[in-house]
Symmetry: C2
Subunit: 286 residues, 2 copies
Protein backbone atom coordinates (compact mmCIF):
# COMPACT_ATOMS: atom_id res chain seq x y z
CA UNK A 1 0.00 0.00 0.00
CA UNK A 2 1.50 3.31 -1.11
CA UNK A 3 0.99 6.40 0.99
CA UNK A 4 0.91 9.95 -0.29
CA UNK A 5 1.70 12.70 2.17
CA UNK A 6 1.02 16.39 1.55
CA UNK A 7 2.28 18.98 4.02
CA UNK A 8 5.72 18.22 5.41
CA UNK A 9 5.98 20.94 8.03
CA UNK A 10 7.06 20.28 11.62
CA UNK A 11 4.13 17.94 12.26
CA UNK A 12 4.01 16.29 8.85
CA UNK A 13 7.73 15.55 8.65
CA UNK A 14 7.66 13.63 11.92
CA UNK A 15 4.60 11.68 10.78
CA UNK A 16 6.29 10.74 7.50
CA UNK A 17 9.28 9.45 9.44
CA UNK A 18 7.03 7.16 11.50
CA UNK A 19 5.44 5.85 8.29
CA UNK A 20 8.85 5.18 6.71
CA UNK A 21 10.05 3.46 9.87
CA UNK A 22 6.99 1.20 9.76
CA UNK A 23 7.98 0.14 6.25
CA UNK A 24 5.48 2.10 4.15
CA UNK A 25 6.41 3.56 0.77
CA UNK A 26 5.70 7.27 1.06
CA UNK A 27 5.30 9.87 -1.69
CA UNK A 28 5.63 13.43 -0.45
CA UNK A 29 4.64 16.89 -1.62
CA UNK A 30 4.98 20.25 0.09
CA UNK A 31 4.29 23.81 -1.09
CA UNK A 32 7.83 24.75 -0.10
CA UNK A 33 9.82 21.96 -1.69
CA UNK A 34 12.98 22.44 0.36
CA UNK A 35 11.16 21.38 3.54
CA UNK A 36 10.44 17.96 2.05
CA UNK A 37 13.98 17.31 0.83
CA UNK A 38 15.38 15.84 4.08
CA UNK A 39 12.62 13.23 3.88
CA UNK A 40 13.61 12.14 0.38
CA UNK A 41 17.06 11.37 1.74
CA UNK A 42 15.37 9.08 4.25
CA UNK A 43 13.44 7.16 1.62
CA UNK A 44 10.38 9.25 0.74
CA UNK A 45 9.74 9.99 -2.95
CA UNK A 46 9.11 13.57 -4.11
CA UNK A 47 6.13 14.26 -6.39
CA UNK A 48 5.61 17.56 -8.16
CA UNK A 49 1.91 18.17 -7.47
CA UNK A 50 -0.91 17.01 -5.17
CA UNK A 51 -2.50 15.42 -8.27
CA UNK A 52 0.62 13.32 -8.82
CA UNK A 53 0.59 12.29 -5.17
CA UNK A 54 -3.01 11.12 -5.57
CA UNK A 55 -2.27 9.33 -8.84
CA UNK A 56 0.66 7.35 -7.41
CA UNK A 57 -0.69 6.56 -3.91
CA UNK A 58 -3.49 4.45 -2.38
CA UNK A 59 -4.01 6.47 0.79
CA UNK A 60 -3.45 10.23 0.73
CA UNK A 61 -2.77 12.09 3.98
CA UNK A 62 -2.85 15.90 4.15
CA UNK A 63 -1.88 18.24 6.94
CA UNK A 64 -1.62 21.89 5.91
CA UNK A 65 -2.24 25.25 7.57
CA UNK A 66 -5.72 26.64 7.11
CA UNK A 67 -9.04 25.46 5.63
CA UNK A 68 -8.27 27.58 2.54
CA UNK A 69 -5.07 25.55 2.06
CA UNK A 70 -7.05 22.33 2.32
CA UNK A 71 -9.41 23.59 -0.39
CA UNK A 72 -6.51 24.49 -2.64
CA UNK A 73 -4.69 21.19 -2.13
CA UNK A 74 -7.78 19.15 -2.97
CA UNK A 75 -9.79 21.20 -5.47
CA UNK A 76 -7.42 23.49 -7.42
CA UNK A 77 -5.73 22.67 -10.70
CA UNK A 78 -3.19 19.88 -10.11
CA UNK A 79 -5.00 19.21 -6.83
CA UNK A 80 -5.64 15.85 -5.18
CA UNK A 81 -9.02 15.33 -6.85
CA UNK A 82 -7.42 15.42 -10.30
CA UNK A 83 -5.39 12.34 -9.43
CA UNK A 84 -7.92 10.32 -7.44
CA UNK A 85 -9.61 7.17 -8.66
CA UNK A 86 -11.99 4.57 -7.21
CA UNK A 87 -10.85 2.61 -4.16
CA UNK A 88 -8.43 5.22 -2.83
CA UNK A 89 -8.71 6.92 0.56
CA UNK A 90 -8.11 10.55 1.50
CA UNK A 91 -7.43 11.63 5.09
CA UNK A 92 -7.27 15.32 5.98
CA UNK A 93 -5.49 15.85 9.30
CA UNK A 94 -5.50 19.64 9.14
CA UNK A 95 -7.59 21.22 11.90
CA UNK A 96 -10.28 22.56 9.62
CA UNK A 97 -14.04 23.08 9.43
CA UNK A 98 -16.53 20.22 9.85
CA UNK A 99 -18.31 21.60 6.77
CA UNK A 100 -15.20 21.23 4.62
CA UNK A 101 -14.72 17.68 5.95
CA UNK A 102 -18.29 16.91 4.88
CA UNK A 103 -17.71 18.47 1.47
CA UNK A 104 -14.56 16.40 0.94
CA UNK A 105 -16.45 13.24 1.91
CA UNK A 106 -19.30 14.10 -0.46
CA UNK A 107 -17.05 14.82 -3.43
CA UNK A 108 -14.99 11.71 -2.71
CA UNK A 109 -18.05 9.50 -2.51
CA UNK A 110 -19.08 10.55 -6.03
CA UNK A 111 -15.97 8.90 -7.44
CA UNK A 112 -15.79 5.91 -5.10
CA UNK A 113 -13.12 7.35 -2.85
CA UNK A 114 -13.30 7.06 0.96
CA UNK A 115 -12.67 10.20 3.04
CA UNK A 116 -11.80 10.71 6.69
CA UNK A 117 -11.21 13.85 8.70
CA UNK A 118 -8.54 13.14 11.30
CA UNK A 119 -7.19 16.23 13.08
CA UNK A 120 -4.53 15.59 15.69
CA UNK A 121 -3.56 16.90 19.10
CA UNK A 122 -0.25 16.61 20.88
CA UNK A 123 1.95 19.16 19.11
CA UNK A 124 5.42 18.81 17.67
CA UNK A 125 6.58 16.56 20.50
CA UNK A 126 3.62 14.22 20.10
CA UNK A 127 4.35 13.96 16.37
CA UNK A 128 8.03 13.31 17.02
CA UNK A 129 7.36 10.66 19.66
CA UNK A 130 4.47 9.08 17.76
CA UNK A 131 2.08 9.80 20.61
CA UNK A 132 -0.47 12.01 18.86
CA UNK A 133 -4.16 11.89 19.68
CA UNK A 134 -6.06 11.40 16.41
CA UNK A 135 -9.77 12.27 16.31
CA UNK A 136 -11.43 10.68 13.33
CA UNK A 137 -14.68 11.30 11.48
CA UNK A 138 -15.99 9.16 8.61
CA UNK A 139 -17.18 5.66 7.73
CA UNK A 140 -16.27 2.73 9.98
CA UNK A 141 -14.96 0.59 7.09
CA UNK A 142 -12.60 3.30 5.84
CA UNK A 143 -11.44 3.92 9.40
CA UNK A 144 -10.61 0.27 9.99
CA UNK A 145 -8.70 0.04 6.73
CA UNK A 146 -6.32 2.90 7.62
CA UNK A 147 -6.01 2.28 11.36
CA UNK A 148 -2.55 0.66 11.03
CA UNK A 149 -1.35 3.71 9.11
CA UNK A 150 -2.58 6.23 11.69
CA UNK A 151 -1.33 3.97 14.47
CA UNK A 152 2.27 4.56 13.42
CA UNK A 153 2.19 8.08 14.90
CA UNK A 154 -0.60 8.01 17.47
CA UNK A 155 -1.13 6.68 20.98
CA UNK A 156 -4.83 7.53 21.08
CA UNK A 157 -6.94 6.92 17.99
CA UNK A 158 -10.72 6.97 17.89
CA UNK A 159 -13.58 7.22 15.41
CA UNK A 160 -16.16 9.71 16.66
CA UNK A 161 -18.85 9.44 14.01
CA UNK A 162 -19.57 10.48 10.42
CA UNK A 163 -17.57 12.94 8.33
CA UNK A 164 -16.88 16.11 10.32
CA UNK A 165 -16.91 14.37 13.72
CA UNK A 166 -13.14 14.38 13.96
CA UNK A 167 -13.14 18.14 13.40
CA UNK A 168 -15.95 18.64 15.93
CA UNK A 169 -14.00 16.68 18.54
CA UNK A 170 -10.92 18.77 17.87
CA UNK A 171 -13.03 21.90 18.34
CA UNK A 172 -14.24 20.54 21.70
CA UNK A 173 -10.60 20.01 22.61
CA UNK A 174 -9.67 23.58 21.66
CA UNK A 175 -12.59 25.02 23.64
CA UNK A 176 -11.24 23.22 26.72
CA UNK A 177 -7.72 24.52 26.03
CA UNK A 178 -9.09 28.08 25.67
CA UNK A 179 -10.28 27.76 29.28
CA UNK A 180 -7.03 26.44 30.70
CA UNK A 181 -4.95 29.03 28.82
CA UNK A 182 -7.00 32.10 29.79
CA UNK A 183 -7.25 30.82 33.37
CA UNK A 184 -3.51 30.30 33.56
CA UNK A 185 -2.65 33.69 32.10
CA UNK A 186 -5.06 35.65 34.30
CA UNK A 187 -3.87 33.69 37.34
CA UNK A 188 -0.25 34.67 36.65
CA UNK A 189 -1.23 38.27 35.93
CA UNK A 190 -3.05 38.40 39.27
CA UNK A 191 -0.33 36.63 41.25
CA UNK A 192 2.36 38.95 39.93
CA UNK A 193 0.35 42.08 40.70
CA UNK A 194 -0.28 40.75 44.20
CA UNK A 195 3.46 40.40 44.71
CA UNK A 196 3.48 36.62 45.08
CA UNK A 197 6.36 34.32 44.15
CA UNK A 198 5.17 32.92 40.80
CA UNK A 199 7.12 29.68 41.00
CA UNK A 200 5.64 28.87 44.38
CA UNK A 201 2.15 29.79 43.20
CA UNK A 202 2.42 27.55 40.12
CA UNK A 203 3.65 24.65 42.23
CA UNK A 204 1.01 25.01 44.91
CA UNK A 205 -1.95 25.72 42.62
CA UNK A 206 -1.06 22.72 40.46
CA UNK A 207 -1.25 20.49 43.52
CA UNK A 208 -5.02 20.82 43.82
CA UNK A 209 -8.30 21.27 42.00
CA UNK A 210 -6.77 23.80 39.57
CA UNK A 211 -4.24 21.29 38.20
CA UNK A 212 -3.93 21.21 34.40
CA UNK A 213 -1.59 20.52 31.51
CA UNK A 214 -1.21 24.19 30.51
CA UNK A 215 -0.24 25.19 34.05
CA UNK A 216 2.29 22.36 34.29
CA UNK A 217 3.86 22.97 30.89
CA UNK A 218 3.47 26.67 30.22
CA UNK A 219 3.59 28.02 33.80
CA UNK A 220 7.33 27.38 34.19
CA UNK A 221 8.03 28.53 30.59
CA UNK A 222 6.26 31.85 31.11
CA UNK A 223 8.21 32.44 34.32
CA UNK A 224 11.41 31.85 32.31
CA UNK A 225 10.04 34.20 29.59
CA UNK A 226 10.16 31.36 27.05
CA UNK A 227 7.52 32.17 24.43
CA UNK A 228 8.73 29.76 21.72
CA UNK A 229 5.85 28.01 20.01
CA UNK A 230 4.65 24.61 21.09
CA UNK A 231 1.49 25.76 19.38
CA UNK A 232 1.24 28.94 17.29
CA UNK A 233 -1.03 31.80 18.35
CA UNK A 234 -2.17 32.23 14.72
CA UNK A 235 -3.31 28.61 14.55
CA UNK A 236 -5.15 28.85 17.84
CA UNK A 237 -6.95 31.95 16.55
CA UNK A 238 -7.97 29.98 13.45
CA UNK A 239 -9.20 27.04 15.55
CA UNK A 240 -11.24 29.18 17.93
CA UNK A 241 -12.78 31.03 14.99
CA UNK A 242 -13.88 27.71 13.49
CA UNK A 243 -15.26 26.56 16.85
CA UNK A 244 -17.25 29.77 17.28
CA UNK A 245 -18.53 29.73 13.69
CA UNK A 246 -19.72 26.15 14.21
CA UNK A 247 -21.29 27.08 17.54
CA UNK A 248 -23.14 29.93 15.88
CA UNK A 249 -24.48 27.57 13.24
CA UNK A 250 -25.74 25.33 16.02
CA UNK A 251 -27.24 28.37 17.82
CA UNK A 252 -24.92 27.76 20.72
CA UNK A 253 -23.58 30.63 22.80
CA UNK A 254 -20.04 30.16 24.14
CA UNK A 255 -19.20 33.35 26.06
CA UNK A 256 -15.96 32.16 27.69
CA UNK A 257 -14.60 30.80 24.42
CA UNK A 258 -15.61 34.03 22.69
CA UNK A 259 -13.67 35.95 25.32
CA UNK A 260 -10.62 33.71 24.79
CA UNK A 261 -10.87 34.20 21.03
CA UNK A 262 -10.98 37.97 21.41
CA UNK A 263 -7.92 37.94 23.63
CA UNK A 264 -5.94 35.77 21.22
CA UNK A 265 -7.08 37.79 18.20
CA UNK A 266 -5.91 40.88 20.01
CA UNK A 267 -2.57 39.18 20.75
CA UNK A 268 -2.17 38.22 17.08
CA UNK A 269 -3.02 41.75 15.96
CA UNK A 270 -0.20 43.21 18.06
CA UNK A 271 2.33 40.90 16.42
CA UNK A 272 2.46 37.65 18.37
CA UNK A 273 0.94 35.34 15.74
CA UNK A 274 4.13 33.34 15.33
CA UNK A 275 4.76 32.96 19.05
CA UNK A 276 3.48 30.17 21.29
CA UNK A 277 0.04 30.39 22.89
CA UNK A 278 1.66 31.04 26.29
CA UNK A 279 2.62 34.50 25.03
CA UNK A 280 -0.95 35.61 25.84
CA UNK A 281 0.61 36.94 29.05
CA UNK A 282 2.13 39.67 26.83
CA UNK A 283 -1.25 41.45 26.91
CA UNK A 284 -0.52 42.02 30.62
CA UNK A 285 3.28 42.09 30.85
CA UNK A 286 5.53 44.00 28.54
CA UNK B 1 -1.12 23.83 73.61
CA UNK B 2 -4.90 24.26 73.48
CA UNK B 3 -6.61 24.82 70.17
CA UNK B 4 -9.85 26.71 69.66
CA UNK B 5 -11.84 25.92 66.54
CA UNK B 6 -14.69 28.05 65.21
CA UNK B 7 -16.80 26.81 62.29
CA UNK B 8 -17.48 23.08 62.39
CA UNK B 9 -19.14 22.64 59.02
CA UNK B 10 -18.16 19.90 56.56
CA UNK B 11 -14.59 21.23 56.27
CA UNK B 12 -14.12 22.28 59.89
CA UNK B 13 -15.41 19.05 61.40
CA UNK B 14 -12.90 16.97 59.44
CA UNK B 15 -10.10 19.30 60.46
CA UNK B 16 -11.04 19.06 64.13
CA UNK B 17 -10.94 15.26 63.89
CA UNK B 18 -7.38 15.41 62.55
CA UNK B 19 -6.39 17.70 65.42
CA UNK B 20 -7.96 15.37 67.99
CA UNK B 21 -6.29 12.35 66.40
CA UNK B 22 -2.93 14.14 66.67
CA UNK B 23 -3.52 14.53 70.41
CA UNK B 24 -4.45 18.22 70.65
CA UNK B 25 -7.03 19.48 73.12
CA UNK B 26 -9.65 21.23 71.00
CA UNK B 27 -12.33 23.69 72.07
CA UNK B 28 -15.11 24.11 69.51
CA UNK B 29 -17.79 26.66 68.68
CA UNK B 30 -20.25 26.78 65.81
CA UNK B 31 -23.15 29.14 65.06
CA UNK B 32 -25.44 26.10 64.73
CA UNK B 33 -24.55 24.21 67.91
CA UNK B 34 -25.95 20.84 66.78
CA UNK B 35 -23.31 20.55 64.05
CA UNK B 36 -20.54 20.62 66.67
CA UNK B 37 -22.11 18.01 68.97
CA UNK B 38 -20.71 14.89 67.25
CA UNK B 39 -17.22 16.36 67.82
CA UNK B 40 -17.79 16.71 71.57
CA UNK B 41 -18.50 12.99 71.69
CA UNK B 42 -15.08 12.47 70.12
CA UNK B 43 -13.27 14.56 72.69
CA UNK B 44 -13.71 18.20 71.67
CA UNK B 45 -15.01 20.65 74.29
CA UNK B 46 -17.95 22.94 73.51
CA UNK B 47 -17.66 26.65 74.32
CA UNK B 48 -20.61 29.03 74.19
CA UNK B 49 -19.07 31.99 72.33
CA UNK B 50 -16.09 32.87 70.14
CA UNK B 51 -14.82 35.00 73.05
CA UNK B 52 -14.80 31.95 75.32
CA UNK B 53 -12.95 29.98 72.67
CA UNK B 54 -10.32 32.71 72.54
CA UNK B 55 -10.10 32.94 76.33
CA UNK B 56 -9.53 29.20 76.80
CA UNK B 57 -7.25 28.47 73.79
CA UNK B 58 -3.71 29.36 72.69
CA UNK B 59 -4.24 29.06 68.94
CA UNK B 60 -7.63 29.94 67.46
CA UNK B 61 -8.61 28.58 64.04
CA UNK B 62 -11.65 29.89 62.19
CA UNK B 63 -13.32 28.67 59.01
CA UNK B 64 -16.72 30.18 58.32
CA UNK B 65 -18.72 31.12 55.21
CA UNK B 66 -18.24 34.69 54.04
CA UNK B 67 -16.02 37.66 54.93
CA UNK B 68 -19.00 39.16 56.81
CA UNK B 69 -19.07 36.04 59.00
CA UNK B 70 -15.35 36.43 59.67
CA UNK B 71 -15.94 40.02 60.78
CA UNK B 72 -18.76 38.96 63.09
CA UNK B 73 -16.82 36.08 64.64
CA UNK B 74 -13.82 38.30 65.41
CA UNK B 75 -15.17 41.78 66.08
CA UNK B 76 -18.76 41.51 67.35
CA UNK B 77 -19.84 41.29 70.97
CA UNK B 78 -18.65 37.96 72.41
CA UNK B 79 -16.30 37.74 69.43
CA UNK B 80 -12.78 36.36 69.37
CA UNK B 81 -11.12 39.70 70.08
CA UNK B 82 -12.92 39.96 73.43
CA UNK B 83 -11.17 36.81 74.62
CA UNK B 84 -7.71 37.31 73.15
CA UNK B 85 -4.59 38.16 75.11
CA UNK B 86 -0.88 38.55 74.43
CA UNK B 87 0.98 35.57 73.02
CA UNK B 88 -2.00 33.89 71.38
CA UNK B 89 -2.34 33.19 67.64
CA UNK B 90 -5.38 33.54 65.39
CA UNK B 91 -5.61 31.77 62.04
CA UNK B 92 -8.47 32.51 59.67
CA UNK B 93 -8.89 29.74 57.10
CA UNK B 94 -12.05 31.15 55.51
CA UNK B 95 -11.55 32.18 51.89
CA UNK B 96 -11.94 35.90 52.48
CA UNK B 97 -10.54 39.25 51.39
CA UNK B 98 -6.84 40.10 51.64
CA UNK B 99 -7.93 43.43 53.15
CA UNK B 100 -9.75 41.71 56.00
CA UNK B 101 -6.72 39.48 56.59
CA UNK B 102 -4.59 42.62 56.87
CA UNK B 103 -7.08 44.22 59.24
CA UNK B 104 -7.11 41.14 61.48
CA UNK B 105 -3.31 41.16 61.55
CA UNK B 106 -3.23 44.87 62.41
CA UNK B 107 -5.75 44.61 65.22
CA UNK B 108 -4.04 41.49 66.54
CA UNK B 109 -0.63 43.14 66.55
CA UNK B 110 -1.94 45.94 68.79
CA UNK B 111 -2.53 43.43 71.59
CA UNK B 112 0.49 41.21 70.99
CA UNK B 113 -1.42 38.51 69.14
CA UNK B 114 -0.05 36.84 65.98
CA UNK B 115 -2.39 36.49 63.00
CA UNK B 116 -2.24 34.31 59.90
CA UNK B 117 -4.57 34.01 56.92
CA UNK B 118 -4.60 30.41 55.77
CA UNK B 119 -7.33 29.58 53.24
CA UNK B 120 -7.40 25.99 52.03
CA UNK B 121 -8.04 24.13 48.82
CA UNK B 122 -8.96 20.50 48.33
CA UNK B 123 -12.64 20.38 49.31
CA UNK B 124 -14.49 18.03 51.62
CA UNK B 125 -12.42 15.03 50.54
CA UNK B 126 -9.13 16.84 51.11
CA UNK B 127 -10.29 17.81 54.60
CA UNK B 128 -11.41 14.26 55.36
CA UNK B 129 -8.18 12.70 54.12
CA UNK B 130 -5.97 15.38 55.65
CA UNK B 131 -4.58 16.33 52.25
CA UNK B 132 -5.61 19.99 52.05
CA UNK B 133 -3.46 22.61 50.41
CA UNK B 134 -3.00 25.47 52.88
CA UNK B 135 -1.90 28.87 51.55
CA UNK B 136 -0.57 31.03 54.36
CA UNK B 137 0.03 34.75 54.78
CA UNK B 138 1.65 36.37 57.83
CA UNK B 139 4.87 36.51 59.82
CA UNK B 140 7.47 33.73 59.47
CA UNK B 141 7.76 33.21 63.25
CA UNK B 142 4.02 32.76 63.73
CA UNK B 143 3.92 30.43 60.75
CA UNK B 144 6.66 28.21 62.12
CA UNK B 145 4.99 28.02 65.50
CA UNK B 146 1.71 26.66 64.11
CA UNK B 147 3.10 24.52 61.29
CA UNK B 148 2.62 21.25 63.24
CA UNK B 149 -1.03 22.17 63.83
CA UNK B 150 -1.77 22.92 60.17
CA UNK B 151 0.23 19.86 59.17
CA UNK B 152 -2.34 17.57 60.77
CA UNK B 153 -4.80 18.19 57.92
CA UNK B 154 -2.64 19.32 55.01
CA UNK B 155 -0.33 17.72 52.47
CA UNK B 156 0.84 21.02 51.01
CA UNK B 157 1.55 23.92 53.31
CA UNK B 158 3.37 27.09 52.35
CA UNK B 159 3.92 30.63 53.56
CA UNK B 160 3.50 33.07 50.67
CA UNK B 161 4.32 36.37 52.32
CA UNK B 162 2.85 38.95 54.71
CA UNK B 163 -0.75 39.10 55.93
CA UNK B 164 -3.15 38.74 53.00
CA UNK B 165 -0.77 36.64 50.89
CA UNK B 166 -2.60 33.42 51.71
CA UNK B 167 -5.83 34.99 50.48
CA UNK B 168 -4.17 36.33 47.34
CA UNK B 169 -2.79 32.88 46.53
CA UNK B 170 -6.24 31.37 47.01
CA UNK B 171 -7.63 33.98 44.61
CA UNK B 172 -4.99 33.00 42.04
CA UNK B 173 -6.11 29.40 42.51
CA UNK B 174 -9.76 30.30 41.96
CA UNK B 175 -8.95 32.32 38.82
CA UNK B 176 -7.31 29.19 37.39
CA UNK B 177 -10.31 27.07 38.36
CA UNK B 178 -12.65 29.59 36.69
CA UNK B 179 -10.81 28.83 33.45
CA UNK B 180 -10.95 25.06 33.71
CA UNK B 181 -14.63 25.10 34.71
CA UNK B 182 -15.87 27.42 31.96
CA UNK B 183 -13.72 25.56 29.42
CA UNK B 184 -15.10 22.21 30.52
CA UNK B 185 -18.72 23.35 30.46
CA UNK B 186 -18.51 25.03 27.05
CA UNK B 187 -16.66 21.99 25.69
CA UNK B 188 -19.46 19.68 26.82
CA UNK B 189 -22.13 22.05 25.54
CA UNK B 190 -20.42 22.10 22.14
CA UNK B 191 -19.78 18.33 22.01
CA UNK B 192 -23.39 17.52 22.83
CA UNK B 193 -24.76 19.92 20.21
CA UNK B 194 -22.37 18.41 17.66
CA UNK B 195 -23.81 14.98 18.42
CA UNK B 196 -20.60 13.48 19.81
CA UNK B 197 -20.41 10.74 22.43
CA UNK B 198 -19.60 12.73 25.58
CA UNK B 199 -17.86 9.91 27.41
CA UNK B 200 -15.51 9.33 24.49
CA UNK B 201 -14.85 13.05 24.12
CA UNK B 202 -14.00 13.43 27.82
CA UNK B 203 -11.65 10.45 27.68
CA UNK B 204 -9.89 11.55 24.50
CA UNK B 205 -9.62 15.25 25.32
CA UNK B 206 -8.21 14.45 28.76
CA UNK B 207 -5.43 12.46 27.10
CA UNK B 208 -3.74 15.53 25.66
CA UNK B 209 -2.98 19.22 26.11
CA UNK B 210 -6.47 19.91 27.46
CA UNK B 211 -6.06 17.60 30.45
CA UNK B 212 -7.19 19.03 33.78
CA UNK B 213 -8.59 18.15 37.19
CA UNK B 214 -12.07 19.57 36.50
CA UNK B 215 -12.41 17.54 33.31
CA UNK B 216 -11.27 14.36 35.07
CA UNK B 217 -13.48 14.82 38.11
CA UNK B 218 -16.52 16.74 36.91
CA UNK B 219 -16.71 15.47 33.30
CA UNK B 220 -17.95 12.01 34.30
CA UNK B 221 -20.22 13.46 37.02
CA UNK B 222 -21.92 15.83 34.58
CA UNK B 223 -22.51 12.99 32.12
CA UNK B 224 -24.18 11.07 35.00
CA UNK B 225 -26.17 14.24 35.87
CA UNK B 226 -24.59 14.31 39.33
CA UNK B 227 -24.65 17.93 40.46
CA UNK B 228 -24.03 17.31 44.17
CA UNK B 229 -21.61 19.86 45.62
CA UNK B 230 -17.92 19.14 45.92
CA UNK B 231 -17.76 22.93 45.98
CA UNK B 232 -20.82 25.19 46.25
CA UNK B 233 -21.76 27.58 43.43
CA UNK B 234 -22.53 30.29 46.01
CA UNK B 235 -19.04 30.05 47.48
CA UNK B 236 -17.40 30.15 44.06
CA UNK B 237 -19.41 33.30 43.27
CA UNK B 238 -18.13 34.83 46.50
CA UNK B 239 -14.52 33.87 45.72
CA UNK B 240 -14.61 35.23 42.17
CA UNK B 241 -16.18 38.47 43.42
CA UNK B 242 -13.31 38.90 45.88
CA UNK B 243 -10.75 38.12 43.16
CA UNK B 244 -12.28 40.68 40.80
CA UNK B 245 -12.58 43.33 43.52
CA UNK B 246 -8.92 42.83 44.36
CA UNK B 247 -7.98 42.92 40.69
CA UNK B 248 -9.85 46.20 40.31
CA UNK B 249 -7.99 47.67 43.27
CA UNK B 250 -4.73 46.67 41.54
CA UNK B 251 -6.00 48.15 38.24
CA UNK B 252 -5.85 44.71 36.69
CA UNK B 253 -8.31 43.69 33.98
CA UNK B 254 -9.32 40.00 34.04
CA UNK B 255 -11.82 39.56 31.19
CA UNK B 256 -12.02 35.75 31.23
CA UNK B 257 -12.49 35.63 35.01
CA UNK B 258 -15.10 38.37 34.74
CA UNK B 259 -16.93 36.26 32.17
CA UNK B 260 -16.77 33.21 34.46
CA UNK B 261 -18.08 35.28 37.37
CA UNK B 262 -21.02 36.51 35.33
CA UNK B 263 -21.91 32.97 34.28
CA UNK B 264 -21.77 31.70 37.86
CA UNK B 265 -23.69 34.69 39.21
CA UNK B 266 -26.33 33.99 36.58
CA UNK B 267 -26.39 30.33 37.65
CA UNK B 268 -26.81 31.32 41.29
CA UNK B 269 -29.61 33.75 40.44
CA UNK B 270 -31.63 31.00 38.78
CA UNK B 271 -31.45 28.86 41.90
CA UNK B 272 -28.30 26.74 41.74
CA UNK B 273 -26.35 28.38 44.59
CA UNK B 274 -26.42 25.23 46.72
CA UNK B 275 -25.40 22.89 43.91
CA UNK B 276 -21.86 21.95 42.92
CA UNK B 277 -19.88 24.14 40.52
CA UNK B 278 -20.28 21.51 37.77
CA UNK B 279 -23.96 22.51 37.55
CA UNK B 280 -22.87 25.45 35.38
CA UNK B 281 -23.85 23.19 32.49
CA UNK B 282 -27.47 23.90 33.55
CA UNK B 283 -27.21 27.25 31.76
CA UNK B 284 -27.01 25.17 28.55
CA UNK B 285 -28.90 21.98 29.36
CA UNK B 286 -32.25 21.79 31.06
Amino acid sequence: MKIGFIGTGVMGSSMVRHLLKAGYEVNVYNRTKSKAMPLTEEGAVWKNTPAEIAKTSDVILTIVGYPIDVEKVYFEEDGVFEGLSEGKTIIDMTTSTPALAEQLAKEAEKIGVAALDAPVSGGDLGAKNGTLTVMVGGEQAAYEKVQPILDTFSSELRLFGPAGSGQHTKMANQIMVAGTMTGLIEMLAYAKKAGLDLEEVVKTVNGGAARNWSLENYGPRIIKEDYSPGFFVKHFVKDLKIALDEAEKMELNLPATTQAYELYKNLESVGYGDEGTQSLIKLWWD
